[in-house]
Structure formats: structure tokens, C-alpha cells
Amino acid sequence: MTVAWGPLLAAYVVLVGLPTGLTLMTWWVGRSGASVRLERIGAWGALVALVAISVLLVADLGRPERFHLMLVRFDNLASPISWGAKLIALKILLLLLVVHAVERRRPPDRPLPRLTKVVAVLLLAVSFALALYPAALLARSWASPLAGGAGVLFVLTALLMGAAVVVLLGGEGRTALLGLLAASAVALAVEALALAGRPGDRLLLAELTTGGSAPLFWGVAVGAGLLLPAAGLLTLPRNRVVTALCAVAVLAGAAATRYLLFAVGS
């Protein structure tokens, strides 16, 4: 069977977790007194990442000059990409508003005007939808059998990536990171059990745990991505270098998990 979506789409599925997670985590961390710097970097970071990813998606099209068709056409609302493209465009628009508001704010630390509050809420909703989007997208592709039911994992890995970046930016995300790590571990275990249940999927589980993808799964996704950072953050909470390293490990782990959800089974 010919594989329709190649490396560019794999990169999309992995990287889209960043802007989604960044928006959600900067909001979460910012709830109790946001540091202006974090809010600004969060908005800019998400915007730049999302635009880069959109360029990547348009490049993947055989007819890039016709990318607008996915935005202006509403004939097939059953198509995940039709929604996905529109959500990405909407989020970019919202981020532009937020960034505009953040930049024009004098003096820099004054709370944002009420209108931006509405935009922020919308932004959260769209980001959460985009966190689930890869699952919906890949549910329609026979080449990614694992991805269809792994909405939770896509959300969690997105949040992990967001939290990791927040921590790297000096934000106070340590507790959130630990919580997310625990949640991810549980989610992974649940997913593995679910796979073991269904006869057809036992092959996929074997591929994941003992087959070709085992080193990536055990080594990076679980080891480096979950256990190592959890241990690091628990034992040496104060040490800045260790925290940063753990954040990077979390990023790598989340990326690996998302790639495995995309690639295994094709």
C-alpha cells in the first residue's frame, strides 16, 4: 500500500504540540499572577511556531498555490483537515490580536483590557481543540492505527511540551510538569492495556514494545521522556541546570511519543 503522508506530515504531528502546549501552559502558569515576560514570549513563541508549521503543511501539498481551498470551502464538514486548517488560521489570527495587545500595553505590566480577555478564552478553546486535532486527523488514515484513539496522549504530550518550554523560560512550571508526567505515565499504561485487549492491535503493541520501535519507545518516549525528568525534578528541585535538562528530556520524550503514534503500523 502506498503511504500518502510522509516526513513533512510526521514533522507536523510532532511539532504542533509546541504552540498548542505553549499557549495552554502559559495561560495555566499565568493564572496566579503572570510574569509579563512569560506572557509575551508565550504569545510570540506560539505565533512563530504555528506560522512555521503552517508553511510546512502548505509545502506538503502537491498544489501549494491552492492551500486556501481548505480555508474557504465548507462543503465537507466531516473532513478533519477542513476543520484543522480553519482552526489553525483562527488561532494565528487570535495570537496576532494577543501579540498586538501585549506590545501596545503601556506600561508593560498593566493587565490586558477586557476585550483581550475574550480573545484569550477563545484562544484557549482553539488551542485545546488543536491539541486533540492530530488524533482526529490520523483517525482517518489507515497508516496510523494507534493515533485514532490516542487523543488524550496527544493533549498530554502537547501540555508536556508547553510546560517544558515554560520551565526553560524560567517560568514556575515545575509542579505542573510533574503532574503532567504522572498523567502521561498513566495514559500510556491505559493505552498499552487497551491495545493488549483487542486481538488486531496486539501486533501493534508488539511492534511498539518489542518490535522495531521498541528502542524509541522504551528509550526516549518512556525513559528519557518520563522517568528521567520525574526523577530529576523530584530529587534536585532547586538545581536550575537539572530542571532545564529535565525540560529538554520531556520535550524529546513527548516528540517521540507523538511520532510513534503517527508512524507505528503503516
Binding site: 500500500m1 502506498t2 500518502a4 503522508w5 506538503d60 501539498l61 502537491g62 498544489r63 501549494p64 491552492r66 492551500f67 481551498l69 481548505m70 470551502r73 462543503d75 465537507n76 466531516a78 473532513s79 478533519p80 483537515i81 477542513s82 486548517a85 482517518r140 488514515s141 489507515w142 497508516a143
Partner: protein, 205 residues
Amino acid sequence: MARLGMLIDLRTCIGCHACSVACKAEFDVPLGNFRDTVKYVEEGAYPKVTRHFIPVLCNHCEDAPCLSACPTGAVVRLDDGQVTIEDGDCNLNRACMAACPYDAIYVDEDRGAAAKCTFCDHRTAEGRQPACVDACPTNCRVFGDLDDPESEIAVRAAANDVTVWKESAGTRPKVLYVDPKNALPLIEEQGVQVDTTADLSGEPA
């Protein structure tokens, strides 16, 4: 408004490829891309061994994954149920190819759009049979309206127990097979396209 379908009787298919070449000739389908192919699969151990011939093509499913996956509405269903692609609306995001369990859709570089079997709507519009049905020497391919009880396809479908390819995909395909030797499960993992990397190389290592 008919519900067009095809019936392929594997008892009298001699695997001669007339259908796949007639389709190539009718649409000048580029090399490496296929709308209809004949799958050869051997089964059994010496000396009790046989080879099955299974012509495969797009099934024009009633619950078409390609149609529901296409974000630009390029994949459309014609009045008589044929699933076709409008070149002008396709930006080659290949969602249809990812969604199709039968691997029946390919990228036509020439037209810069996805392409697939159209049940030869340009021929049936003139009251003719699809090219593959016309070319089949043993008439093991029958095309017609599944809802018309008098049509040859309906009569033959009723007279034999028919099955479909990859029933588990749940797309309600409209290509029916008479498959007494139960050969279809053997090509569960295959698709319409040909694996162009399968040949042994002739260049010295």
C-alpha cells in the same frame, strides 16, 4: 438514479490483465499508477498448490472514506453513485489516499490532482460499458445497476453468494466478488497500486 456496481466472478477470471491494460489505454494512466490491477497470489504447498487471480479496483464505496476525508470537497459522488475527483478543486493534500483502505487513489502528476477509477462515467454516459468490462474476454466482469432486479449484475449477484474485499474496513463497497475458493482474505494487506519496489534487481551487488 441507479446504484452502479460491478460483479467479478473469480471462477472464470483467467488473470490475463486485459482489464488493467484497457484501463491504462483509455485514460493514458501514467506508468507506476494504477486504477485497476490483477493480484496474483499463490496458496498451498507442493504438490497441492494453486494461484489465485483477483482483479481489484476502486469499490466506489457507499460510505466512501475518501469522500468524507477530502477537505476541499474535490471528491464528489455522481448521480449514479460513482465516486470521482474534480481536478480543479484538488490541492493534493492526499487525505483521500490516506483514508482509502483499497489504495485505489494515486497522484496524477500530469493533471496535478489526485485520480482514481471513475467507473468510466464518460462511457456509461454514452450507454457503453466501462473499458475494463468491455475488454474482459471471459465476461467475468459484470457492470450495472444493483437496484434493478432484472439487470445482469443483480441476477448474477442473487444467483451466487457474493462477498466483498476488505469487508472489515466497513465502507460498504460496490464491487462484489464470486469467490468460492475464498481467495480475497489472502490479499487483505494489498491494495490496487503495485509495489514498485518488489522486483529483484538485476544489477550486480
